[in-house]
């Protein structure tokens, strides 16, 4: 076993120099325990250097990473097709509701008393409904695209 007063200096043997190094060397010349400890340190150093020094990632790493990133990027690429389909679907619903209203209104006597007021109210209501639906679809599309 190494002498306690020299143990730290032996562990840092490669980093010490000058007078401190000479002092350790003098001690090593006459202490078998410290020599054995220093040899063991060299074995550890040699083994670990051989095992770990200069290790680099394999060439396949960058290739695999790029492939995975390509896959992710293509999956995340924005597409307007769902939004267009969404718009067409909502448009069809609005058109259907409009047709139903157009078909039902002549059968409601209260609504037929003043045709001028009726047509004005209908136009305002239809415009309002159209703007609300357009706003709704626009917000939905924006939210989808941001995800």
């Amino acid at each position: 076993m190494a002498c306690p007063e020299f143990e730290d200096r032996l562990i840092d043997y490669a980093d010490i120099e000058g007078e401190a190094r000479a002092c350790v060397d003098t001690h090593l010349a006459e202490c078998a325990g410290c020599r054995q400890f220093l040899e063991a340190l060299l074995v550890v150093d040699t083994e670990l250097t051989a095992r770990f020094s200069g290790r680099e990632a394999s060439a396949a790493l960058a290739v695999t990473v790029r492939r995975r990133v390509d896959r992710e990027a293509s999956a995340r690429r924005l597409s307007f097709v769902p939004e267009i389909l969404d718009f067409v679907g909502w448009g069809a619903i609005v058109a259907l509701l409009g047709l139903m209203a157009w078909w039902v209104v002549p059968f409601i006597p209260a609504l037929n008393s003043n045709p001028t007021v009726l047509s004005l109210n209908t136009a305002v209501a239809a415009s309002g409904a159209f703007l609300l639906v357009a706003l709704f679809i626009g917000l939905r599309s924006l939210a989808d695209l941001r995800c």
Partner: protein, 187 residues
Amino acid sequence: MDATPGSLRGMEQEIRTCLDQKQYREAFDRLLPEFQNKVFRLAYAMLGEAGAAEDMAQDVFVRIWRALPGYRGQSSLSTWIYAITRNACLSALRKVGVRREVSMEEPGVARAAEATGLEAGGDAGIDVLRFLKQLPDRHQQVLRLYYLEEKSYEEVARLLEWPMGTVKVYLHRARKELAEAVARGKI
């Protein structure tokens, strides 16, 4: 290719320019070759196995790709990348730790692992490495990284984000323990 401090500064500037212009793919293509070895070595030091480190490095770079649009440059790019790597490795180690605890509860499995040398990591041919794997985790990590980074204390401290004094103390203890074991003929 490794990122040196000089090349890092210039490269970080280029990457920030790409990010400002939302050219994420260009930014990523620049940082990947610069950091692939550093990320691999840090993962290797933390996980202890080259294969696991390679897989981890892949996952880390995919995480970086996903997080790149959110990088605002609060810390340097290298600090940000090493932090992602360390966090990913720590999560993996926690999962492995949980699995190991569960599997070692069965005495038959534990005995089999001891008999085949699996408990020490499976590197039955190299005794120093087997003993290395019995050291505390932090001692193992710092020792592996020290040799992976060509014995640079500064790099070890930078990659692990530990104070230099802590790195030196852990290294000192780890080398002492290993050398004592060799000297005693324990391994």
